[in-house]
Symmetry: C2
Subunit: 385 residues, 2 copies
């Protein structure tokens, strides 16, 4: 396998982009990356997206986007794995370069969720669950995650107050990120007095609905210096699945797929969790983030929320997490999220992360989740030289 | 790049499967392939599918299927490129093995179109076109292909009678294929007296709506003999895109993406069009097939229909085409079609094609189209030893 590097990135602000269509949104992010690498033609295009059929009645997104950004006939395809669509798109892009088939590959993610009404987005999100055995009987996506929080609190006796410190941390980070959807601070008291979406999950524990697009440009590591002074190596990657439905799992308080995907990725990169300087984790809900911090090996089971409350995931702590705000505050345009995470880790490793820059960050990690832990991808990035 | 082989295949009859859900349909095909290879665990799963969000309100199809067929946590993902979803899924599967990342990879395609009413399928098919600039102003998918037929007949003066010989040929082939959706013969007169769907395309020039699933199991060529006595090498592959919308093209009578994809695939396999013994081409409409026969290099522009009428694509002719009935008569479960094509070519090269077996077939080709030529994949298969 050839080694693969990220040579350029692009992204839009996550927001309610009423004035942009899905193709315009993606184009903005893609042209930013193409311009950064000073390239106007690529070899292949991968697009992570979940909802374009549902929200825009538009499939065949690969060719649409290749066409619209002015590329000349590259292979182009949409990659769908619910909330892990972006992470899986990155995985496919890496394989395309690693195999030797392609040199210049663009991996993008895009989601435009505000083209439909709010109840429709609830239906759309339920497509990530088992439609016949979960959604059909009335479980919303939030409700399934609420069961996970309930089970976790029952097993480990962790309080709402402690769990609420994760969204508070994410908003603190987002307050210094100009492209975050919610760039403002919140308090634990505000989290705990916000309304329940599905008990025990409250509004300020849930990632918002928004639109956004993010793009990475990949090439073989050995050629990366032709395009940038600061290539970032993709040093490891793992992906794994679990049962799609919760009722088939032995334990709701851990995501087996995260553990497996991380193990593969750590092994490939020859690192341990303690080596990670910066991480972007999938905090679609507060509890998803807490469980992920544990399953990635950063903290012991049942201990992550306490660690968050102690500042251990802030810049300068044990591992700097979600330094651009995470899903909660940067925003969660579903199929684009995994690509945003990678963009952010690349910016940290380049020393280009603004006010939340982690000094001397060398190794970064992204964890992207589809469904309630049904699909998980983990990628590990390394700064060179 | 490692060389890649097909070691097992599975498929269902294409039909209106009222009694099977999409997961049951896929499971039937997947278990057939797993049983043939005598394997119960794989390294990764790719699923070509276009309509599961629209027709089943189910995305996250990768993990759903991995789970339902009893696999233990492989990376699993849905690949979408409209009618070329199956071909693109195969491409991703080949890359996964070629890169060295995985050894045992399952590539499947599945589509269950009969879960929604007929007008909804017309809307769903339009998701392959440019929603904002084609579908929005009222063009159906058939109507766009009808314009292609009109332009082709205007340019080359080819009659309806000659073009009708392609669906007649496909039904002749399907009449000996027990898993074809429409295993019966038709005549040119029947084609020409069938009602217009979108003038000048008549009912019997259009592929039907149906349900089906097909599966290929891949592994590195060097390990293939551990699983089968008759591995089939994937010797070449190419993919290309064109503009998604027709109004942006210089010429409606040729699919540039087919020409480019085929050129790449022929070069990789070190063959010429004349070397191909059997081919499965994308005859979603009669005219799509006719144009494809030309763009693949089998016949000169404007001459394919005449060649078909002379029997040149029948077994024993210049190149045996759509020997299982093609999209027109085997059926066209959209996201599965590209995988069916590959299954059929593999069966021919194994000498396992029943009454339409082409004696001594060594090299096979599949061409899979998304939209009106917007995405095209071409794969070339070779019998070993």
């Amino acid at each position: 396998m050839r080694k693969v590097a990220v040579i350029a990135v692009g992204y839009t602000k996550v927001s309610e982009h009423w004035n942009l269509s899905i193709r315009e949104l993606f184009t903005e992010a893609a042209l930013m990356a193409l311009n950064e690498a000073n390239i106007d033609q690529i070899d292949a295009l991968y697009i992570g997206n979940m909802f374009s059929g549902y929200c825009q009645h538009q499939e065949h997104l690969g060719v649409l986007m290749a066409d619209y950004i002015g590329l000349k006939s590259p292979p182009a395809v949409k990659i769908e794995a619910a909330g892990a669509s972006g992470g899986m798109a990155l995985r496919e892009g890496v394989q395309a370069v690693a195999s030797g088939l392609h040199d210049l590959v663009v991996v993008g993610g895009v989601e435009k969720m505000t083209d439909v009404l709010s109840p429709d987005i609830t239906s759309a999100l339920a497509m990530a669950t088992d439609q016949e055995y979960e959604a059909f009987i009335g479980a919303t996506f939030v409700a399934l995650n609420a069961m996970v929080k309930r089970a976790y609190q029952h097993k480990y006796g962790v309080s709402d107050e402690l769990i609420a410190t994760l969204p508070v941390h994410c908003h603190e980070m987002a307050s210094k990120n100009p492209y975050a959807q919610h760039p403002f601070k919140i308090t634990v008291e505000q989290v705990l007095s916000s309304p329940f979406i599905a008990e025990p999950l409250r509004l300020l524990e849930c990632s918002p609905v928004g639109d956004g697009a993010a793009v990475l440009m990949l090439c073989p590591l050995e050629k990366a210096k032709n395009f940038t002074d600061a290539p970032i190596e993709i040093a490891g990657m793992g992906a794994a699945t679990d049962t799609i439905a919760l009722y088939q799992r032995d334990d709701l308080t851990t995501f087996k797929a995260t553990i497996e995907a991380a193990e593969i990725a750590y092994k490939m990169a020859h690192i341990k969790p303690d080596d990670v300087d910066v991480a972007e984790i999938h905090d679609a809900f507060s509890i998803t983030g807490i469980i992920s911090l544990e399953d990635l090996g950063f903290f012991e089971k049942g201990k992550a929320a306490e660690a968050v409350s102690e500042g251990q995931i802030a810049p300068g702590g044990k591992v700097a997490v979600n330094t651009f705000g995470g899903l909660k505050a940067r925003g969660h345009p579903v199929g684009a999220t995994g690509v945003y995470q990678a963009v952010e880790v690349v910016k940290q490793l380049r020393g280009d992360a603004g006010k939340n820059q982690v000094d001397g960050a060398e190794i970064g990690l992204t964890q992207n989740v589809g469904g309630v832990g049904g699909t998980v991808t983990v990628h590990i990035f390394r700064r060179l030289g």
